[in-house]
Amino acid sequence: MTTTAQTPPAAGGAPVLQTRHLVKRFGGIVATNDVSLAVMPGARHALIGPNGAGKTTLVNQLTGVLAPTSGQIELEGADITRLPAHQRARRGLMRTFQINQLFNTLTPLETVALVISQRDGLGGRWWRALDRDAARRDEAAELLRSLHLGDVMDHDTAVLPYGKRRLLEIAVALAGKPRVLLLDEPMAGVPAGQSREILDTLAALPADVTVLLIEHDMDLVFRFATRMSVLVNGAMFAEGDPDEIARDERVKNVYLGRGHG
């Protein structure tokens, strides 16, 4: 078991997010090699793999930052392979980045209120001031408070401590009320003392949000994920529930063994 890439998981319903035979080449390098991935509704799906396995390249294709060389990507049954990144976001595919991608000259409150306006289709409004929009401002403040950002929401994003910036990264994605949330190594670089708030946040994600988690931190992966896919050298190496993956000798050899021995 757990060896073929093609077998869809057994869970009920159609996948929310799916790739079919996805291939991405950079010159002679095959960064994504025939990946067929199915993420089921409400899943806590983890994508793991050693450094350079092509995890972020895959996420960048899912979100439209990179165009695949061949293959298809489907979101809720619709082919989004050629859809621009901003339109995928509008369809409810939101992401966080491995390296923080924030708006440094805006405050967290402005940032999140902007995301909410954008989500509600008001991002093009050019007359009414964003900070006068009480409904969206309140929603933004509430979300920020729930993510331990209430005390810094009026500071410039540029001056926030790293852990807070990491939380804001998640807040920005959550503010868009995603159907599918892609978390690209949310724990990357977070000092141990600041990790608690992020773990709490991940645990408290709404159950109806489908989550695809890319993570190096195996403790977090095994605590969080209900389904796992292992990527090695750009190809799908194994899939299964966490117990299956934990028992898989081949996975242990290529991945878990390394640095965890």
């Binding site: 979100t63 439209g64 930052v65 621009p84 990144a85 901003h86 339109q87 976001a89 509008r90 939101m94 992401r95 980045f97 991608q101 924030l102 708006f103 440094n104 000259t105 805006l106 405050t107 402005e110 940032t111 209120a113 902007l114 995301v115 306006s117 954008q118 989500r119 008001l122 991002g123 093009g124 409004r125 050019w126 007359w127 009414r128 001031a129 964003l130 900070d131 929009d133 810094v152 009026d154 500071h155 410039d156 001056v159 920005v172 868009g176």
Partner: protein
């Protein structure tokens, strides 16, 4: 430049005083009306550049294309269609907006450097077109003797330029109010987001190119309005409205005042025109040397430290900076 982002009631007082001072100067020293008009027009032109540079993040070396287009459009409209100033202003503004929209398609392609070259090219092309079609534009001789009707049929453009001065100041103020609202709206904050981080802006669903095209068009419209004001207040339009020097001057003025907080273009225009005036009276041949010298000092010393009083005070007044101490 968010260090000087306006917010809070005390900053509103500072803004009020700024405009009160402008009115007071216009009122108290009408003998210098031509100078105030020049400042107001450059201020509007620099404001238009701030929209595309400070908010859109697009560096332009050919912004005079829109200024000049507006200037000629206002002149030709007055000669061939109607001498009504407000109608002419609206037509020139709309025309420049259309030109901005069309050129945004090519300007928004490619990297920053490509964009810079394309803005430069659009400016040069327009200049040469105006030069070539001298039957329409008067070529190197310009469009002389443009007669403009009194504003609302009541306020005649006088020789001293007092009416023109008020007219330019009021148009500047109204368009400034529009720009101020624009930059605080979701649209404007979205532009800041694009400028800060285009990758993330896309990831939250902002159609980046569409937004940049929109702000480029608005910037072009404002520049066109500034050009129209020049033609209408001087009764003359010549090739220099499209010149590269004009594009360079407005960039210089904006950099002097600072980008991304709207008042930069206004403050920069005041400094630029006054320096130009004083320096060229003092040393007619070398004023540009001193202008360059001032720019180098500003870049090396840093605008905040140099204008420390103003920028620093505004930053301290702004409540959101309180968290930083």
């Amino acid at each position: 430049m968010s260090a000087v982002k306006m917010s809070g009631s005390r900053v509103r007082v500072a803004e009020f005083l700024f405009w009160l001072l402008a009115v007071a100067v216009m009122w108290g020293f009408p003998q210098y009306a031509a100078l105030w008009t020049e400042i107001a027009i450059l201020a509007l032109f620099a404001l238009s550049l701030d929209l595309i540079l400070g908010y859109g993040g697009i560096v332009s070396l050919g912004h005079a294309a829109f200024f000049g287009f507006g200037a000629y459009a206002a002149g030709l409209f007055a000669i061939h269609v109607s001498p009504d100033p407000l109608l002419g202003l609206v037509v020139a503004t709309a025309g420049a907006a259309l030109l901005g929209l069309l050129s945004s398609v090519i300007v928004l392609r490619g990297s920053d450097l490509t964009r810079l070259m394309v803005t430069l090219a659009v400016g040069l092309i327009l200049f040469e077109l105006a030069n070539r079609f001298s039957g329409l534009t008067g070529g190197a001789d310009g469009l002389p003797g443009i007669f403009i009707d009194p504003i609302f049929g009541r306020f005649e453009f006088d020789l001293a330029g007092v009416t023109g001065g008020w007219y330019a100041l009021i148009v500047l103020f109204l368009l400034f109010v529009v720009a101020r609202r624009l930059t605080r709206s979701p649209f404007g904050v979205g532009l800041e987001a694009i400028r800060d981080n285009r990758l993330r802006a896309t990831a939250i669903g902002i159609p980046v190119n569409q937004r940049l095209a929109a702000v480029y068009t608005i910037g072009a419209a404002f520049a066109g309005a500034a050009g129209a004001l020049l033609t209408q207040t001087t009764g003359f339009a010549s090739l220099d409205v499209l010149s590269f020097e004009r594009s360079a001057d407005v960039l210089l003025a904006l950099v002097l005042g600072g980008t991304g907080y709207l008042y930069g273009g206004l403050v920069g225009a005041v400094i630029f025109v006054l320096m130009h005036d004083l320096l060229s009276a003092w040393t007619p041949h070398y004023w540009l040397f001193w202008m360059g010298f001032a720019l180098v000092v500003i870049v090396l010393v840093g605008r905040e430290r140099l204008y420390g009083g103003v920028a620093g005070a505004l930053a301290r007044l702004s409540p959101r900076r309180g968290g930083r101490g």
